[in-house]
Amino acid sequence: MNANENIYGLMAEFSDNEKILVAAKSAYEHGFRKMDAFTPFPVEGLSQNLGQKKSFVPLIVLIAGIFGGLGGYFMEWYANVVSYPMNVGGRPLNSWPMFIPITFELTILSAALAAIIGMLALNKLPEPHHPVFDAPDFDRASTDRFFLCIEATDPKFDLEATRKFLETLNPELISEVAK
């Protein structure tokens, strides 16, 4: 639709966290898929109500943790067994119990780095500008207002019909968001 070319989506503003949960659920049931909600704190169940998939962060962290641990042990083994072996009273070179603390620390370190980097990457941050920032009142999305944005790329999006639908959700305010 030509009229929608310059529109990112339609944004509805709600005044509390229970309303946004209900709104997200009815929008999903109404058939909208390309949408997102913006809230000042994590609202439990919101992402499920919007039909979003589970987070991939745990998988990334698990993989990074395993590689960090294996890599840490390999580093110690290579350094103290292969590259620079030191015979201390005939004790075994691959003295694994003594290698555990650093293996453990490096497991945690890699997993933690993966958690933050993975979280930012999955969220596509840093992203200094985004169309929703231009929506009226949007600065309150980080204080006390809850927003639901149905994006224009949604196959079911139609400016008038979607606006009518949003009105049935009883929001405080509805606005168009430019691209």
Binding site: S15, S47, E127, P136, I174, A178
Partner: protein, 517 residues
């Protein structure tokens, strides 16, 4: 009206009834292109009608039926009011920063200069300016290191372990204590480096393929320490920053000036609080808490192994790891209280950091203090029970030797005085609690002195015995490191939100739904 705060003494909250949304500037005045073409305000009066505040009858210092303070935050707080209370400290420093901030900054900065002075002279002359020698080669540097790193443990304990245990009261204090952890670990990290003698080659501690063809000896607890402490610092930093992102986004949206908007905008990385963002964020945050939990227990265990793996009487003991961890949390909570109590008073945050928080922290301190006391008893018992004359002599020397008075001061400060915490009035009386915490902090420093110096000064052969006397430079470095810590802390409370705003909003929502008291 919704902003009228029934129980608070702040004028900025209650006097602002005429402008119900005092925070951000009006949309038109924000200096960016207004992109919306259509605005349909369905319920223009809703801001006035939708009162988020539920005024309850209980005051902020209400007591539960079991006799404990029960309020997590003051009744009547709303999303807007908590955001304003915390955010305005950073955004309207003129109105919210107390005059005493400057006094604190002055003291902290003077001590920091002392630290730089002491370090400069150390780099110029070498570690001989300290009182260390053989047999006491570890001296203040290691005492201070262990003390600071122990203080750093409360932050992660509060942030991570209490998060996993669903202790909601952590919310008001976790940000402050995480910052405290970072700064304490930064202070701790300087001491082993300075103690190296040639700090400029500190990177030899890290494994890298160097031209000397050497590798670190990974079987040594001293190398474990390098990994444990640097991992701890990095993970604490990540955890702190991950929690900070949504809050700096709030500050970005409310910033009154363009410069602040840009700085907080950069720090916020474009956070917009989308459901997808929150989902990944919460997942990462919980995982970080899960990772930090074993980490925090491992760090002081590794530090204790620096001692326990050695053969020196008074060090060579299997009780050290748990006993060090308990001591770390003990001193960490004492430092949290020493910081939180003045801040709560000076910034008027009694509505967010309530008596319940003070009481809970005091209870944790009492519990860990008992564990530490048990450690003291076990050390004494095991030295007798071992039948080893060197161990037995170590204990006798500790209590009745030349440093005996320090041992008894330790018992007074770490075992006897904290028993005052059994009294509820002490636990909820900020001033009394502040002094008990101060005594415990000093006591924990003395404990490390007893462990490091008193154990070393008389080990096996009397001909190798000696005394240790700290010099001016030892004291200057110790107090100077306090200056570094205070400077970082005082800058933190000035420039970043000291309470997790988004988490506090969640508490407000949960209270409203009746999930919390």
């Amino acid at each position: 009206m919704e902003f009228f705060n029934w129980f608070s003494g702040f004028s900025f909250v209650s006097s602002d009834v005429s402008t119900p949304h005092p925070g951000p500037l009006p949309v038109e005045g924000r200096g960016r292109k207004f992109a919306a073409t259509f605005i349909h305000r369905i319920n223009p009066m809703s801001e006035f009608v939708q009162s988020p505040a539920i005024a309850r009858d209980e005051p902020v210092n209400a007591i539960s039926p079991l006799g404990y303070p029960s309020q997590l935050i003051a009744p009547g707080e709303s999303f807007e009011s908590v955001t304003e209370e915390i955010g305005s400290i950073v955004l309207q420093p003129g109105a919210r920063q107390p005059k005493s901030w400057w006094f604190g900054a002055l003291v902290a900065f003077a001590l920091l200069m002392l630290f730089f002075f002491a370090i400069s002279y150390l780099l110029y002359r070498g570690v001989g300016i300290w009182g260390i020698n053989i047999p006491v080669a570890w001296g203040f540097a290691i005492v201070n290191f262990v003390w600071w790193i122990g203080i750093g443990h409360a932050g992660t304990f509060i942030s991570a372990i209490l998060l996993l245990l669903h202790q909601k009261w952590r919310t008001s204090i976790n940000r402050l204590t995480e910052a405290m952890t970072l700064f304490a670990v930064a202070c701790a990290g300087t001491f082993p480096l300075l103690h190296l003698g040639r700090p400029w080659v500190f990177f030899w501690l890290f494994p890298y393929p160097d031209t000397m063809g050497l590798w670190p000896q990974f079987r040594s607890p001293l190398v474990w320490d390098v990994f444990a402490v640097s991992t701890y610092f990095i993970v604490s930093l990540i955890f702190w920053y991950a929690g900070l992102i949504p809050d700096v986004a709030t500050l970005r949206d409310r910033a009154p000036s363009r410069v602040k908007k840009i700085i907080f905008g950069i720090l916020a990385l474009g956070w917009r609080g989308s459901a997808k963002h929150w989902q990944n964020h919460q997942s990462a945050y919980l995982l970080l808490a899960g990772l930090a939990t074993p980490l925090v227990l491992s760090v002081h265990s590794v530090v204790s192994l620096d001692f326990a793996v050695a053969m020196v009487p008074g060090w060579h003991s299997t009780i050290f790891p748990p006993y060090f961890v308990a001591g770390a949390i003990y001193s960490g909570f004492a430092m949290v209280l020493n910081i939180v109590i003045p801040i709560r008073k000076l910034y008027g945050l009694e509505n967010l950091i309530t008596e319940r928080h003070l009481n809970n922290m005091a209870v944790v301190m009492l519990a860990t203090g008992m564990m530490v006391a048990y450690g003291y008893i076990m050390e004494a018992f095991m030295s007798w029970y071992s039948g080893d004359i060197f161990e037995q002599y170590m204990m006798a020397n500790r209590a009745f030797g030349p440093y005996g008075w320090i041992f008894w001061a330790l018992m007074l400060m770490n075992v006897l005085i904290p028993q005052l915490l059994w009294v509820r009035r002490v636990r909820t009386h900020p001033l009394a609690l502040f002094f008990v915490a101060l005594v415990i902090n000093a006591g924990m420093w003395v404990e490390r002195f007893v462990i490091v110096v008193v154990s070393l000064h008389r080990d096996f052969t009397p001909s190798a015995w000696g005394m240790y006397r700290p010099t001016f430079w030892d004291w200057a470095t110790l107090f100077g490191s306090v200056g570094l810590f205070l400077t970082l802390m005082i800058l933190f409370v000035r420039f970043l939100p000291m309470i997790a705003i988004s988490e506090t909003r969640k508490i407000v929502a949960e209270r409203r739904e009746g999930k919390l008291s």
